[in-house]
Amino acid sequence: MSDPVELRDVVKTYDLGGGIRVDALRGIDLTIKRGEFISIMGPSGCGKTTLLNIIGGLDSPTDGQVIIDGINIARMGEGELARIRREKIGFVFQFFNLVPLLTALENVQIPMIFTGRLPNAEIKKRAIELLHLVGLEHRLHHRPAQMSGGEQQRVAIARALANEPSIILADEPTGNVDQETGWKIVRLIKGLNETLGQTCIIVTHDPAIAQVSERILYMIDGRIISEPPRLTINPSSNILADERRQMLLAELRWLEASIKSLERRKTKLSQESYAEAKIGYEKQLERLKKAIQESYEKRR
């Protein structure tokens, strides 16, 4: 069986008009194994969302190959890409993106309606099963406006699973919920990954997701810098050392922001989860500062 995701020298350049070009991806080589749980991290604007969109067939690369389940989708037309998305990919978004007019049950049915393979009764039955799976059996006939952010995101996860895709792509799935709910969602995705065996690729700023990931890809300026593994990087290469430091500094800024946000929300959280998060952050902070220190020393 082929690997579910294989990217070869993928380049994406946006032409903003007026001769302004932005290189969003500058040559990505990446192989993801079946059932892997991967986080993509990096500062905003580094190209992580673009990468996710290209893997999911929402966008086409300027150059290179994107091989999903052994099929190169890089040069596919709109209709074919829609079919790939429908059958192989499940999307989870930061803003949930449920249809506000439809109930949870109806929202989960959408991908199956588009596929049209199952009879109506089966579609409904499967949608109910999926909502059970994400723990929303009591919310079947609620509209998105009647549900909390966490519940909406769980509906979105159920929807992503509807057509039994081989790959789940999530773009900051915890970015729009509070930390506690975030933990629950992370545990849900991870649990589904373990029981159903789907390959999960998650773009995130959330250390909670990073913690449960089997592999973390750090991206900076359109490149993946921890792929291939760090050991093979020539330690004497100044360019890479620079990039690594940039990445570390970006992560530091993000971590400091996260700590500030945690302090702000201190009263809303339970004592335990606040303490747990705080200790986690402090450990990370210490490690980061040390790494940054080292990178400067190496240069000298």
């Binding site: 966008d59 499940g90 309606i113």
Partner: protein, 394 residues
């Protein structure tokens, strides 16, 4: 197998699209109601005006059939009173001619108002004109100073039975006195347009216009209406310089007039329908704009262009369907309103209300066509939204 799958897929999407459309319409109640109102106004205008036109055509055709008992009318090409009366004898000998009636029609002034007077043999008058008396009696052969008026003209002139009126050939000219012996129900529809409503005997007319032995037209009744063309051809050979008009020709002329009138009315109605169409376009456009993220999501989970197109098109279709149904209902009520309005204005026109399933069907088709056309452009825009850009939208 793949065909069955495609059909099933289509069916699913159609059902799903209409569910979404229904919810979208009920969610924005006020906006949807206004849009639907636009279509209702347009369709009810179309339906009421077409029903009105249909009723009028029916009316004109039946009165024409009543009035034009004559299959063929021979007149002189100059439309004066200059056909020798003996011509009638030759006409009556033409095979296929059942009866031929000479008449004089010309303009007279009564109290300085112009009217068309018809001079006809009272015995034969009933063969071609269906006269219903309201008061008094009909003309009698040999009566030289009697006149039958229709009730509208009588009331215009302010005369009753046994009163007298003065005929003259020009305004202010010296006249001749006629006694009103009968008042008849006015011809409706066509007769009214032609202003026929003053009858005297043929002899009296010839005498009054000083045209002894001459008539202006000969009305011909056929033994069999299918022989019209043959008789017409024979008459043309016999009287090459005369103007020969058949009933079919008159009918087709009238039909042409009616068609033109209907066309004008429909044109007016379609303007309001067009405004309704703009309303639909605007509503769907706004819906597309508000739901951009949703479109992006639908595409992300595997929706193709036609899925998205249909979801928005069905909103336009549902609006126009509701508008069409209510438009048909209000359109029929509109005919009552027009009838009432005509009565208030004191016009002596009765328009029958004939409910025609064809017109209602046409109204529905017009509504759905307008919905499809108006909804297509915004739906097409929705279908072409690029998912990535729509999802980035905030």
């Amino acid at each position: 197998m793949s065909n069955i799958l495609t059909v099933r897929k289509m069916f699913r999407t159609v059902r799903f699209a209409f569910t979404m459309a229904r919810r979208s319409i009920t969610r924005r109640k006020f906006r949807s109601a206004l849009t639907i109102l636009g279509i209702i106004i347009g369709i009810s205008a179309v339906v009421s005006l077409m029903t009105l036109g249909y009723g009028m055509r029916y009316q004109v055709e039946t009165t024409l059939n009543e009035m034009l008992g004559a299959g063929i009318v021979i007149s002189s090409s100059s439309y004066g009173i200059d056909i020798p009366e003996y011509v009638q004898y030759f006409v009556s000998q033409v095979p296929g001619v059942n009866n031929s009636i000479p008449i004089v029609t010309s303009l007279v002034y009564i109290s300085n108002q112009p009217y068309t007077v018809v001079g006809i043999d009272p015995v034969q008058a009933s063969e071609v004109y269906q006269v219903t008396l309201e008061d008094g009696r009909g003309l009698v052969l040999g009566e030289n100073d009697a006149v039958v008026l229709d009730s509208t003209i009588a009331s215009d002139l302010g005369v009753k039975v046994n009163d007298v009126v003065t005929f003259s050939t020009q305004t202010g000219g010296v006249g001749k006195i006629f006694k009103v012996v009968g008042i008849m129900r006015p011809f409706i529809g066509f007769g009214q347009f032609m202003n026929i409503g003053v009858f005297i005997t043929l002899d009296a007319a010839q005498d009054f216009f000083d045209k002894e032995g001459y008539v202006s037209s000969i009305l011909i009744r056929l033994t069999d209406s299918s022989q019209g063309e043959q008789v017409e051809a024979t008459l043309k050979q016999m009287f090459p310089s005369a103007s020969i008009i058949t009933q079919e020709e008159i009918m087709s002329n009238i039909n042409q007039i009616m068609n033109t009138m209907n066309g004008v009315l429909l044109g007016l109605a379609s303007i309001s329908l067009m405004v309704g169409a703009l309303g639909i376009m605007n509503t769907v456009m706004m819906s597309v704009h508000e739901r951009r993220r949703e479109i992006g999501m639908l595409k992300a989970v595997g929706g193709e262009r036609w899925h998205v197109l249909f979801i928005f098109l069905s909103e336009a279709l549902l609006i126009s369907l509701i508008g069409g149904i209510f438009g048909c209902i209000f359109g029929l009520s509109g005919v009552y309103i027009i009838q009432w309005f005509v009565k208030i204005l004191g016009l002596n026109i009765t328009v029958p209300l004939l409910i025609s399933p064809q017109i209602l069907g046409l109204g529905m088709i017009a509504a759905l066509a307008v919905g499809t056309i108006a909804g297509f452009y915004p739906s097409w825009k929705a279908a072409n939204v690029r998912p990535m850009e729509a999802l980035r939208y905030e």
